[in-house]
């Protein structure tokens, strides 16, 4: 049986850890509220953008544009959005697993555009090729940041260095459920677009013309997806951390009560032993 002193030391160490996890939970709760309302505000833009591009593509199936057909290169770019800080449960490792576990994405074909330090660590350790690391964006994602990232990726797409663009991020469903997602951005998935069709019988005109409009709108579409993903990822990160810290706090609680019990038992045991010794000593003198 461990001594009273050991148990006491262990208990106080767990108590101070619990205080930290409790504080972290409170901090991420506040951050989550902020990130959540931010995510809700970006939603209309993102939805409308998606809707417009969908209906545009649904009606213009025969346009031969690289954004729709894909590049010649077999290289695939994946924009990986993770967090800079850990202690968020499975948040980061889920994203990494999403990429390592996908059989269509072969390691040698991938070019990783990482946002978030944990993704960089996880993927470079497994031998993935990291092209760029924009982890600073994660601190406070803004639309210009997303636009800069988008420009970088689309430039290499335009140069033919990459043939397809994917985006891996954590979708924020609600406060308690977040889902790691991998979506293909370019070439645009026309099959998925056909579902959203209500106003498609309106004959739409394009200015300057369809192809040029597409040329200008698709980058904005990609940027808005990046931005939406960044904002959702921040919300998911804080949600995941809040949950992780919540369970850490309650685990600490369990351990503390367990240790308190052991401590009291040990204390009682030592008192009993001392008494027995005294009585035995007294008996011996008589």
């Amino acid at each position: 049986m461990a001594s009273m002193r050991d148990i006491k030391r262990r208990k106080s160490s767990i108590q101070s850890t619990q205080q930290i996890t409790k504080a972290m939970k409170l901090v991420s709760t506040v951050k989550l509220q902020k990130a959540k309302s931010h995510a809700e505000q970006t939603d209309p833009y993102f939805n409308y953008m998606y809707h417009t591009v969908s209906s545009m593509l649904a009606k213009s199936g025969n346009i031969n544009h690289p954004y729709l057909t894909g590049g010649d290169s077999t290289k695939k770019a994946v924009v990986v959005i993770t967090s800079n800080r850990g202690l968020a449960g499975g948040y980061n490792s889920n994203i990494v697993k999403l990429i390592t576990g996908n059989e269509d994405l072969k390691k040698e074909d991938l070019e990783i555009y990482a946002v978030g330090g944990k993704g960089v660590e996880g993927l470079s350790r497994r031998g993935y090729h990291i092209v760029s690391d924009d982890s600073a964006i994660m601190e406070a994602p803004s639309y210009p940041d997303a636009a800069a990232l988008c420009k970088k990726v689309l430039d290499s797409f335009a140069k033919g260095e990459i043939g397809e663009i994917y985006l891996a991020y954590t979708h924020f469903k609600n406060t308690v459920s977040h889902e790691p997602k991998l979506i293909r951005l370019l070439p645009v998935d026309i099959k998925a677009q056909e579902e959203t069709d209500e106003a498609s019988n309106v004959l739409m005109n394009y200015e300057p013309n369809e192809e040029e409009a597409l040329d200008m709108i698709i980058p904005k579409y990609v940027t808005s997806l990046f931005y939406g993903a960044l904002v959702e990822a921040v919300a998911s990160e804080n949600g995941a951390r809040m949950q992780a810290m919540d369970s850490a706090t309650s685990n600490a609680e369990d351990m503390i009560s367990d240790l308190s019990l052991k401590y009291n038992r040990a204390r009682q045991g030592s008192i009993t032993q001392e008494l027995t010794e005294i009585i035995a000593g007294a008996n011996a003198i008589e």
Binding site: P44, Y45, T52, Y143, V202, Y206, P208, A213, I217, K220
Partner: protein
């Protein structure tokens, strides 16, 4: 809603900037200024930095809009703008500074890409300054 009114929405990545009814809206596209009434033909067009004027009866609302595109349907106009600002929100001093910087860059003449960007920046700054006059 009266017969000649239609719905206007201006949406930016960070917020729903404006939503309401109008009987005419003017804005700047890559092909030039256009004014839209109800029952316009369906049109999707790309925006240039410029002023958006929303006419609602006798009331006029002006805002500065930079980059994005517009979708016009017969009873609805939606502007998806990367940046949109009311005149009250514009920092004139900053816009003036941006204008000077852009002009400097245009005078110094570097690579092709730089000129395009500087022109765009100048355009944006000028839009902001002219929008601020509507305060």
């Amino acid at each position: 809603m009266a017969d000649n009114m239609f719905k206007v929405e201006i949406i930016t990545p960070d917020r729903v900037f404006y939503t309401g009814d109008a009987d005419m809206i003017e804005f700047n596209t890559v092909q030039g200024q256009i004014g839209v009434y109800r029952n316009h033909i369906p049109l999707t067009t790309v925006l240039e930095p410029g002023l958006v004027t929303i006419h609602e009866g006798d009331v006029q609302k002006v805002a500065a809009v930079h980059a994005g595109f517009a979708e016009i349907l017969n009873d609805r106009v939606t502007l998806l703008a990367e940046v949109a600002e009311w005149p009250e929100e514009i920092d004139v001093a900053r816009a003036e500074a941006a204008k000077e910087r852009a002009e400097q860059r245009l005078i110094s003449k570097n690579a092709e890409l730089d000129i395009k960007r500087a022109e765009f920046a100048l355009h944006k700054a000028l839009t902001r300054i002219s929008a601020a006059e509507y305060r």
